[in-house]
Symmetry: C2
Subunit: 404 residues, 2 copies
């Protein structure tokens, strides 16, 4: 189903990559693009104009967290999420499905790190019941009982005034059996229809809805889920859920979905949820993903890690370790971020991180987002110029980085 939400400007021969324009009620987003998280109505530590100045055109807010605090009623009264947080550009909101189900399943991060879901559940709240109607849980903010469902999630996203709403899904974890994933995916499909029904009747004019492809790591279910979502009335498509326990499996799983989303469906924009490692972004673009969101670049920054062109170390420099403590060099020569262009040394940044100074978190957040914006800009320009293979190769080899 063709839609006016997306214009493909160029395709890269020999790959599924494309460059495009995502059209929203608050402006266009040039793709491929990385979408910084404004989970709780702010990109942590940054002002809206700073986020825009870095080159980002869209941010991602979170239905679950904003519903619990300060509540969508207040945000709606204060001009919706755009007015509330002072961000005039496009906003996509996550549906809350991931957060709600993380209480029961544990998060993907817990899974990777071997943490028990119970530990995590204690942190974010607790589930009281899950059934076809929706999920009942206890708020981590005030302990009150709350309820989220497809309709409630869409109503909240309508009140928030999101340009792009995501449907309410169950984010199935990796460690469950095929039978669990199958039931969960089928329920996600039923919830997709309920979300679209609610939106058709009550959704705000101009708000786009993205369906979410689930299906775990099972090829038949992933492909089937992609076909079901593609056959629905949604304007865009997100890939969610567990994508596997290593990168090659993730690329395979995303690839299955992308194959099903080609052909007659290719004019719909595609979003890959929660993925943001440098190599994953490059591969995601090659697989035809248009937008990505992820906590990694900002979270790394708040914990003392800087993004640098060093593929052997996953593009990460941990300022708490090793020689950084006395290193007079900037994070990266030529980088236009305030830390690098201001002549601040790795030693200074390492010191700020050790002293737990807010300025350190902020400088590293700005640097990392500058790096991300530079990467995405280069990938987009490469697609427009037909040089993606070379540019991606140079990035993977560490020969290329945003300012080289």
């Amino acid at each position: 189903m063709a839609t006016a939400a997306f214009t493909i400007q160029a395709r890269q021969p020999g790959s599924l990559a494309r460059a495009g324009l995502l059209h929203t009620a608050h402006g266009d987003v040039r793709t491929p693009a990385f979408v910084p998280l404004a989970t709780k109505a702010t990109v942590k530590g940054l002002l809206p104009e700073e986020v825009a100045a870095l080159g980002f055109e869209m941010v991602l807010g979170n239905t679950f967290h904003l519903h619990l605090r300060p509540g969508e009623e207040l945000i709606e009264r204060l001009g919706g999420l755009h007015g509330f947080m002072g961000w005039p550009g496009p906003i996509i909101t996550d549906s809350g499905g991931f957060q709600v189900f993380s209480m029961g399943h544990g998060t993907v991060a817990d899974e990777i790190k071997g943490r028990s879901p119970h530990g995590s559940a204690g942190r974010v709240g607790s589930i009281l019941s899950i059934d076809e109607a929706g999920v009942r849980f206890r708020s981590y903010v005030d302990g009150r009982e709350r309820f989220l469902s497809p309709e409630r999630s869409m109503a909240i996203q309508a009140a928030l005034g999101a340009d792009i709403a995501l449907v309410f899904d169950e984010c199935t974890p990796f460690h469950v059996e095929r039978g669990y994933t199958e039931n969960s995916t089928l329920r996600t499909h039923r919830w997709l229809e309920r979300c679209l029904d609610w939106h058709a009747e009550h959704g705000p004019a101009g708000q786009l809805v993205y369906g979410i492809v689930q299906g775990g790591v099972f090829e038949d279910m992933r492909r089937d889920s992609a076909r079901v979502v593609a056959a629905s009335a949604c304007e865009g498509i997100a890939i969610g859920g567990s994508l596997g326990d290593h990168k090659e499996q993730m690329y395979e799983v995303v690839g299955w979905a992308m194959e099903e989303l080609g052909g007659e469906h290719e004019e719909r924009p595609r979003h890959l949820l929660g993925i943001g490692d440098i190599d994953d972004l490059i591969r995601g673009v090659e697989l035809g993903v248009d937008t990505f969101d992820c906590a990694i670049p900002t979270r790394l920054g708040r914990h003392g890690c800087a993004l640098v062109p060093d593929p052997a170390r996953r593009w990460r420099l941990d300022l708490l370790k090793g020689r950084s403590r006395e290193d007079p060099a900037p994070l990266q020569d030529g980088c236009p971020c305030p830390a690098c262009s201001g002549g601040l040394s790795r030693a200074y940044l390492s010191y700020l991180v050790r002293a737990k100074e807010l300025t350190g978190m902020r400088l590293l957040t700005l640097h990392n987002l500058t790096f991300m914006a530079g990467l995405m800009r280069e990938l987009r320009e490469a697609i427009l110029a037909g040089t993606l293979a070379e540019v991606a190769g140079a990035w993977r080899g560490g020969e290329k980085h945003p300012h080289a």
Copy 2:
């Protein structure tokens, strides 16, 4: 003793207030001026260019904290404090005396709040011995034994490359007896001479030294201490120690010192240590103080308090309380800070503070420093225009504020 460190540009008839230019190796500071704290080599959450853009020309670093981490050797290798933190303008450094003695005495804040010094000592480290040579204590960073003395403090401030070094003093608390204060003040005077002797031999070219007036709340001792400091070779004079347990007493104590610092000594710049309430700044300027430093505006900001023109509430708006939670108004109409000029509501700021978001701390810090800069600019302009009495009165009445 006249000195080239300060030029008086205008005096306000009927008060001791003056407007001037403080000349340092890294540029001039227009006075009266507030000096934001960069205790640990950063104004918490702000970049150097942001501090400058607010209108501040000097910041204050801390010898005690920077000595313990990252150490003055590293800072010196990386271009001194100016290069290390990327601040090209004037820097004044506190001597560490206040912090060291706070471990034993408890801080003035502890005193006001009735906290025991032992609780505070556990937080910042612990004193091992105090004698004429100096103070031996345990570092709060790594538990190692450290030693500070007049000579060590001056050597550290030389390595930091401070434009203005403060002499190492004992900051006497309020709750001690007259006998304690007397002994302590006499030792501070002996330490003043040791600091000046060290500086005469080893001090960096262009570094100014400020002596510190002690003497507690006893008129004879305050006046005597002011005379002793004024008779020394220091280029500027700071007022330190306990100033009393209420504002009128503080103004009286500062007034005694200021009377002694008039006449032949008036060409020396005067700094009031650790004072920063709005009414105290206004009165301090009227008493002839040229510069002030204080944690209040930035600390209030990090804890959810905004400065507003409301004298009845000590110019403070606590965003955690009352109607702010749903208030669509900005903190202050016409204020050029990012929060107010960006149309962000009190409700949004209240939410950010409750959610403990870094952006909230940052926005309130920027707002509060904008308020401080505006106040000091207006007081200076009033002295230059001969209208200080009216301007100060309007501020005290809440009729005037930085953008009215």
